[in-house]
């Protein structure tokens, strides 16, 4: 039972942030890799999948409130699809230890810019 309760809770809490777009997925990744002890590649895969229900349920509200800027979103999605295929292909063929190191550096970079950025 416990092995289901905590993942659901973690997913729900970070899901609130994910729906805001403030990086809930990254927090969930940290939870999965450091607390739940899942592998880096598996955690990344789960995280991508988890974002689907989290975003799909948050989006109708955002649309209704008029917060979605379609003129920016459409070109971003188009090139984003290309970028994400490249990233996913590289990540799934990379050594896991190296992937984890890259992830750590990325987190520190984001953390510092968030903390000291305006």
């Amino acid at each position: 039972m416990k092995e289901y309760v905590f993942p659901v809770l973690a997913g729900a809490l970070t899901g609130i942030l994910s729906g805001f777009g403030v990086g809930g997925g990254t927090l969930l990744l940290i939870y999965m890799t450091t607390v739940a002890g899942l592998g880096q590649t598996l955690s990344q895969g789960i995280n991508l999948l988890y974002f689907l229900p989290a975003a799909a349920t948050a989006l109708p509200g955002h649309f209704k409130n008029g917060y979605i800027e379609t003129s920016v979103a459409v070109p971003a999605i188009l090139l984003g699809l290309v970028g994400t295929v490249l990233g996913a292909l590289i990540a799934t063929s990379l050594d896991v230890g190296l992937l984890r190191k890259c992830f750590g550096l990325f987190l520190i970079y984001i953390g510092i810019t968030e903390l000291f950025g305006k």
């Binding site: 659901v8 899901g15 805001f20 899942l38 598996l42 979605i68 996913a88 520190i108």
Partner: protein
Amino acid sequence: MKKVNFWPALSGGLSGFVNGFFGGGGGMLLVPLLVKKCGLDQRRAFATSVAVILPLCVLSSAIYLLRGGLDIMAALPYLLGGLIGGSISGRIFKRMSILWLRRLFALLILYGGVRSLL
């Protein structure tokens, strides 16, 4: 004549790559780009990034799945959590103050970064 702005597409491409490579975190890169380079206000940037990242996650999670980096059963509880969190998020986003949330978030991210490197 209006100058063509490449930033929306470029921002999407970069975030897409990060999203596929790290299995998340694309939004953390995308939101600042949307604000600084695409002229969106904070709230619009957060909401729009959710709309951009969602289709990217469909594609990248499919790649993780096909290349064996993903176990659906392990993902299920997180998906359920995401569903709950996301629906809460869409409802309360309008009333959220974003600043304190980002500071807390930055600290958690830094913690995760250090843990991943050690």
